[in-house]
């Protein structure tokens, strides 16, 4: 790191809050070299975004840099100290020297402006006036980030583009003025695997071509390993470990780094499934045999889906949208069946149909031998005792006004299970089951972390002792450490309670570890299904192969340097 573009020394940032000052970042030091990527990795709340915001001078109103320095080796002005820079000077730097690629492409474009206008905005701020020149530049930029027919797209609005395309647009806007430094704050966390990969490839290319330095923030070590020259691992506002990526990941010195590595499903086996027949590495026939054996033990399959079709009305004048088209599979009792596919492929729709929240247009779903598609009223409610759904979003599926205790007691009350004391008992037991302490019962959802909330949601699903649980991306929103905890929890519960899971995910690394069988969906159609190991090792369909290739962390896995750590559900 001889010449560095960005140099951060002993940075400390504090937020002023109702409860007094919060030190979000303390003593952080690292560098970004021109044309290279420095990855900032760490769990949620570790201070990654705070560092990024300090670098571009856009800390929240209540935040301020309390110590340290940030120096940018600016092309024109030479080394510039960014801490304490005046607003006017900042305006000159932003966009021209330092650009930002935000985390959430959905909300980062002005919804009432066209794509073209958004891309051109930075140029116009920095003095471009000529309309024709601007238009040409915008088309050129859009073309460069790989957007098809850029002149047409430029006139479209953000909502008409997919998430991946929006992220490309944001990248185009960021590189418009050829900045020296790009700060990318989790640029792909909101995207699904295949899109994530293409976006990251694009960033890589740009960096190489223009020599732009990249400060890359992620919570996914595997991504960092694939893309960065240097890695900075943060926890609790402090740097735990820093250095060249290969070195840090191969020989982690900090305990925390090791935990991160162990919890990344693409890098390590995070779940030791108690009743799986074979060791994790022993794939193929063994796993298949295990699943089959379990299926046999249980007799007939618990879930039989055949010819499932789901249409949605699409507004007057247009034909219906076919969200799910002729999907069939069976799930044996006590096993896990995964539904994978990219965004919009119909995973959620299928899952909801099984859980009885959608009325399928055609096809049949039988659970424990009962046809559930046409159930109404009392019977539909009875089904709910047997089939439960866990949502993707741990923030949205709990009533913010209820205490955790009443969340958990509600199904019991609804099904008239037990009296008050018995219910309290069961609530306590189910909290214990998901490894939460009994005093959590008095809290409200906003007083819990995302992982804790998701455990509450799982506990609520389990409290009525269902046979089948549909988990819709139940771990996708969580950071790796928490994700690993929950995956372990699910595996343990399946072992203890003999549960059957329908597990929906776009993360194939997870699916591979947790599922016995899998259905691959593409645009509503099931392109492939079968035992997990068979599908993963011998994908028949191109699409499946692409999905598998997109799993990040190839670099590390290839190096094969990490000993797989296995841990019990000891969160």
């Amino acid at each position: 790191m001889s010449e560095s573009l960005l140099s951060i020394r002993d940075l400390a940032v504090a937020y002023r809050t109702d409860r007094g000052d919060v030190d979000a970042v303390r003593g952080v030091s690292f560098d970004v070299a021109p044309g290279e990527v420095t990855a900032l990795v760490g769990e949620s709340g570790s201070g990654k975004s705070t560092v990024a915001q300090s670098v571009i001078g856009l800390l929240a109103g209540n935040g301020r840099v309390t110590a340290g320095s940030i120096t940018l080796d600016e092309r024109r002005g030479g080394a510039t100290e960014l801490v304490g820079l005046g607003e006017k000077r900042w305006r000159e730097l932003r966009g021209r020297c330092i650009a930002l690629i935000p985390q959430d492409p959905g909300n980062s474009l002005n919804p009432v402006k066209t794509i073209g206008a958004s891309v051109a905005e930075g140029l116009r701020i920095h003095g471009w006036r000529d309309r024709d020149e601007l238009r040409a530049k915008v088309v050129d930029l859009l073309d460069r980030v790989g957007i098809d027919s850029p002149d047409v797209r430029a006139k479209q609005y953000p909502h008409e583009l997919s998430g991946g395309m929006r992220q490309r647009v944001l990248i185009a806007a960021a590189i418009a003025l050829e900045p020296e430094l790009i700060v990318a704050d989790e640029p792909t966390s909101a995207l699904d695997v295949t899109v994530q990969r293409t976006v990251l490839d694009l960033l890589d290319d740009l960096r190489r071509e223009s020599g732009t330095g990249l400060l890359f923030i992620t919570h996914d070590l595997a991504v960092a390993a694939d893309r960065a020259r240097d890695v900075v691992v943060m926890q609790g506002g402090r740097v735990q470990e820093a250095g060249p990526a290969a070195e840090v990941l191969a020989h982690p010195s900090a305990e925390y780094t090791r935990t991160l590595l162990a919890d990344a499903p693409s890098l390590a086996r995070v779940v030791e499934r108690p009743k799986a027949t074979a060791a994790p590495d022993a794939e193929g026939p063994g796993a298949e045999a295990g699943a089959a054996a379990r299926a046999q033990r249980a007799g007939s399959p618990l879930v039989e889906v055949s010819g499932l079709r789901q249409e949605f009305a699409h507004g007057a004048g247009r034909g219906p949208l076919v969200a799910v088209d002729d999907v069939s599979f069976t799930v044996a009792r006590g096993t896990t069946h995964a539904l994978v596919g990219e965004s919009g492929s119909g995973k959620t729709t299928t899952g909801r149909s099984i859980a009885g929240f959608n009325r399928p247009t055609a096809g049949s779903i039988r659970i424990a031998g009962t046809e559930v598609t046409g159930l109404k009223g009392r019977e539909a409610r009875a089904l709910r005792r047997n089939v439960q759904l866990v949502y993707q979003n741990p923030y949205g599926s709990l009533d913010p006004r209820q205490t955790i205790g009443s969340v958990l007691a509600e199904p019991l009350r609804n099904f008239r299970i037990g009296d008050a004391s018995e219910r309290a008992d069961r609530v306590a037991r189910s909290l214990e089951l998901v490894a939460l302490s009994p005093d959590h019962a008095a809290r409200r959802p906003r007083e819990l972390s995302g992982g804790q909330r998701q455990r509450v949601a799982i506990a609520r699903a389990l409290i009525v002792e269902p046979e089948l649980v549909v988990l819709d991306e139940a771990v996708s929103a969580l950071d790796v450490t928490v994700q690993a905890q929950i995956l372990r929890l699910l595996a343990r519960l399946q072992g203890e309670l003999g549960l059957t899971y329908v597990f929906i995910s776009h993360d194939l690394a997870v699916v591979r570890q947790i599922a016995d069988s899998v259905s691959v969906l593409q645009r509503g159609a099931q392109v492939e299904h079968g035992a997990t190991a068979a599908v993963f090792d011998h994908p028949e369909h191109d699409y499946t192969r692409r999905l598998i290739d997109a799993i990040p962390g190839a670099a590390l896995r290839g190096a094969d340097t990490i000993a797989p750590t296995t841990r019990e559900g000891d969160e």
Binding site: R94, G95, L100, P102, Q103, P111, I125, Y157, H159
Partner: protein
Amino acid sequence: MTTYVLRRVGQALLVLLLAYTAAYLLLAALPGDAVMARYGNPDLGLTPAQIDEIRASYGADRPLIVRYFDSLGAFLTGDLGFSVQSGAAVGDLIAEALPSSLALAIPGLILAVFLAVTIAFTATYGKGRWLRRVFENIPPVMVSLPVFWVGIILVQIFSFQLGLVPVIGGTPIQQLILPVITLSVPIAAPLAQVLIRSIEEVREMPFVAVVRSRGASTSWLLWRNVARNALLPTLTMAGLLFGELVGGAVVTESVFARFGIGQLTAQAVANRDTPVLLAVVVIATVAFVTINLIVDLLYPVLDARLRRASGRTRPAAEGVSA
């Protein structure tokens, strides 16, 4: 799109019929009728028997349902009937009142929007905390002043004490100044409140930070990014403020001795002049549904997101006003 517009027009017609019927029944239930209001005045010295005779000559002694369908039929053929109080054709009265009300309402609305925008922008992006604080508190103060009170105080100060603008006998423009200011107060206040709120909401949105990261200045942000987004909820509000406008007109017109729909309404209520009131209700309803239809159709123009699902989603700004 056309089916959508057709459906909305159908809804509008339904609302119109319902409003007409509701108003008819409500007015029929009021104690005292127009004949009584006109001829019952003791200064005319008529005996109850004489009044009953007159009532019969108006056909006002027929059953309610017959009168309802009669008047509905007449309305459908465009015959608004005659004012019982004055005997003038309702159509003529409205034709006379409407332009003068519009002459008041339109500048009032424009001034209100101008005030609201100025207040809201200063309150959210003004220089200095202190200035912002002051401006933030202007709308609540404005909503806590009764309209008539504002009018009377304005007249006292600017016309009678300072002699700046005459209320009586000035040029038409001079005569408009104070009423327009008065009328704009109750409209500007809730508008400014909604605007402040939506600006505050919009500027929390991630894209604003992204635009700042491109080097945008505050005024750039405000005018080119925040304003347009904040406009949508304000527009919804504007549709609802129509009622405020009518109410404000009643009061303003009576303080400033202007003839208009407001005066007409107040007098017609006092005189139980059902034909006039029904016409007012019909006009108000037509205006209300038209404004709301226009607002609905404007959303997709202002916000491309709403283009496909036009009308189904609507930025929520309802009920924020006072």
